[in-house]
Symmetry: C2
Subunit: 395 residues, 2 copies
Amino acid sequence: MKNNKTPGTDTPKTQDGAYRPGLEGVICNRSSISYIDGEKGTLEYRGINIADLTEHSNFEECVYLLLYSHLPSERELNQFKTFLAKSRHLSTPIREAITRFPVGMHPIIALQTATALFQGEDFYADDVSSSTHNMRRAISIISKIPTILAAFDRHRNGEEPIPPRSQYTHAENLLYMLTGSPPKPEQARVFDKSLILHLEHTMNASTFTTRVIGSTQASIYSAISGAIGALSGSLHGGANEKVIRMLYSIGHQDNVEPFVEEKLGSGSKIMGIGHRIYKIKDPRATILQNFIPKLLETTSGEEIKTLYKIAIKLEEIVNKNLGHKNLYPNVDFYSGIVYECLGIPSDLFTSIFAIARIVGWSAHWLEQVNANRIFRPTQQYIGDHNRQYISLDER
Amino acid sequence: MKNNKTPGTDTPKTQDGAYRPGLEGVICNRSSISYIDGEKGTLEYRGINIADLTEHSNFEECVYLLLYSHLPSERELNQFKTFLAKSRHLSTPIREAITRFPVGMHPIIALQTATALFQGEDFYADDVSSSTHNMRRAISIISKIPTILAAFDRHRNGEEPIPPRSQYTHAENLLYMLTGSPPKPEQARVFDKSLILHLEHTMNASTFTTRVIGSTQASIYSAISGAIGALSGSLHGGANEKVIRMLYSIGHQDNVEPFVEEKLGSGSKIMGIGHRIYKIKDPRATILQNFIPKLLETTSGEEIKTLYKIAIKLEEIVNKNLGHKNLYPNVDFYSGIVYECLGIPSDLFTSIFAIARIVGWSAHWLEQVNANRIFRPTQQYIGDHNRQYISLDER
């Protein structure tokens, strides 16, 4: 298992100018969207602790907060909710294009592809000079992306898409479009809060991608599409899917101890454990975990209850063995179990992540285009010089 | 007009660790693919000067050189050409998906979208551990991207796509698929060399995007799709299209002097002039310019001859006025005129750029996955802390 090497907060202690692979510790932008204190284990959106937000707020209000940087008044919130709900429908061309996507494609790539297609419906997409238009674009794409995911999931299963319902909240509507049934209140409540926990998380490869593409003044559709592509990578999104597979493969809580011993012995990673910034337990993991006991009551499956027992046992053993190395469960450790309880297929987990994180990407895109400088770093050349061109017959 | 602020080569002189907007001067990777000496005005691919390559080599050979880092033997080259030519066809699902793309979409976004779709046809796209598979993916996508562009261009014009012909070279085949006529030899020759000049150019926003997305172990399709998105931005690709519009708007060579005076007076930029790295004339501009007189003989249009006269005059006036500021024509200054001579619609210029640059992106993707570290820079937080959550009725 690899130890974290980055400092405990996301503001670096030193920056000596040496080449840092992966730009680790290099400041790439200034931002007021979110902040992590890795020592204390806290995450703030626009300065407000996410523990308070998941306790008291809801998805729609948190999206408003991240995009506009203040909590909405009642009137602002109602207007915002209406716009978000009314924008859910896809146009016929986009819906038809989705029905032509290869069914074997990973759902996250369907999201990447369809997001780029929206450029075709926004005639002025290449003009990012209007803050009003930019905000409207962001809200529209946040609203539509669950409809894309549900439409593609139905398409690959040979089923007709279920049209969105504007009377539902964002979380309720997505569960409804995926399953075709009205969501149970407790499931919708937890899903809403789980989305809040995934909205934004400072600088990471996908958020950075949004800013790099956005810095060329490409459209928001190109920037978000690229970010989804980055999230699709197995080193970035997708960890929650792997956690679930790991828990299934362990099979029973009695197998946890030998599993951990084997992992430690071979020096390999335990999925969902450790985070480059948090030095104590990821606050999002703590919050998610607290949802699970009540959520389990909404499902009849015994298998998922076993998974949860395995996870609890795994955390206990890991704490005992690795706590001194600052290795604790991260958000992915419990989010997969939550999604399993909600009946979401595991190959949609990364896409669910994208449906939440698109809010953070949008906020970063707005911040980037508002004070833009194109990203053009440099490289160190390590090849030869002055090689001669030798003609084909002399090679 | 803004002066260049970066050093004359792409290896920075100093790196003091301060926050650099746009990561200017920050080393983001090590590479042996290409090298620019901005003082001398030279560009090398794998150590070989592009002046030699455009003089003696051809597109297929240069692609081989960039991907494999050596010039091919006759046998290697023949095998490579065959694979590149045989891979041009699109599958029925991809062709059908393209016929569903909104016709008003910019062609470069059609490329971004369709490139991501290829993931659906590569069942192991998320496994980037095999160098052999990775190379095959790169060659296949380089081969297919002109077919996508031509298919979309025909689709938006309400026409059936023209299937690729494997007996043509890459350059000949693209001209053929766009126009439906066998290309004139001089036009194919210049187009081939013009593609060579655009294959690769060290670190820039789109190449950087390829590496950032690729660093998450996302598929090559996701990485290249994102790079195309970055290229679509008006601050990155698209300058050659703008040069042509500028030359048309000047209208006559007698209008050049007042045009430059007005631009200088208002402190605004002249399209196609100046480059952040080159301190003298961009070597690619010099080479392209030399092609034009002979190429003009292949076209009957008087308008395009006028455009060329305007360009020559503009370069002369700019040299006189701005030469002391190291502001000279860059590659985009003459490439648009070349494409106009070839009968390519101006809104395809950025896509033609992508069709060449995908080779450099592929080489960088291969280099990145071969010695990977995920890009996760940091940010400087400039917002508030410890803001209280105020409930809706108290706001």
